[in-house]
Amino acid sequence: MRAVWTFWTKPFLANASWGWLSERHHLLSWILSVETARHHFPSICLYTDSHGAYLLVDRLGLRFDTVSTALDSLRHYDPRWWTLGKLHAYRSETSPFVHIDSDAYLWKAIDPSIIAGDLFAQNAEYFSLGASEFYMPEVLESFLLKRGGWLPTEWLWARTVFGACQKGIACGVFGGQNLAFIRYYAELAFRLITDSRNAALLPNVPHKARHAILLEQYLLSACVDYHHGREGSPFKNLTVKFLFDSFEDAYFDAGRIGLTHLLANTKKDPILMRRLEDRVAQNYPDLYDRCLLVSGR
């Protein structure tokens, strides 16, 4: 199984996704994410665009077995849908893989029994409809459906069946063996953006960047639950495993799995950023020097 990272620079340059304390810390995180995980996998790969390859490989000096600039093909997409870079990598993979976010550090190898599964992810995360700061499927849904837009069957099913008790799947670490399902779900996410009924409406969706995780994490959960055990579905026997049993377990038992994930605004926490810098300076001094050079410090 190979490890995969993505860096779509368009959202990054447009500040459409979660920002870092500084550009230096962003690059330090890339170093730590790649260097901690590379020892656990026989092959590592980067999906990026031309600018990303120039920054991470040519200038920073990160080494990958494969570097794809396939994300150049996303140049016409709205960067506020910042998860599309990851989804494009998911749908492009042709062998079992694990995708690791560049703000996630895998200190230990993932349990082989998890990696062997159809699908695995960091953890399930539950939310009450209308009370979540991050998941607002009802907002995007209402906007689209009132205007003649389209949503996948799986999405509508999950919203109807599960009512106020909704679920997403955190994808800081995500992958699996069932490429057919992964491709199906990732294509569905793209279709949500490109479908002719939605394409004209989506530029006006409020809080678009906030809805980007719905494409990746909410839709994934809906697809898993919709197809699992469903007669006639090609994914009837799909199984999913999690590194952590719950969001709460991820916080209190991260050491057991050996994962750090700097979620959301943590990337601007001065104390954590200091520790990030110290760790990279100590463990990867050559790359640290390159980082200082690239970031102009």
């Binding site: 550090y105 109807t160 008790c165 719950s246 994962l259 605004n265």
Partner: protein
């Protein structure tokens, strides 16, 4: 209509015998969907309960939740 989970005759959307929320008598949900919904509610309630009990046990950990980092101790 009968409850798809326990077979009890339904007179309202919540089954009086097993407590399943059937989603409304005319919701059109299949037995599989009823079951999925019930399981999701059970999971959800379990997670909420676990979260609450943990916070009560270690209130200072709430700060950790607040900063949003998983495994920050490892960094």
């Amino acid at each position: 209509m009968i409850c798809p989970l326990c077979g009890n005759a339904l007179t309202e959307s919540f089954c009086a015998r097993c407590g399943a929320d059937t989603g409304g008598l005319d919701s059109g949900l299949s037995p599989f969907e009823h079951d999925a919904r019930r399981l999701r509610e059970m999971e959800f309630n379990d997670v909420v309960q676990k979260f609450r009990s943990t916070i009560q046990r270690m209130p200072d950990r709430y700060v950790l939740y607040g900063n949003g980092a998983i495994g920050s101790d490892l960094l």
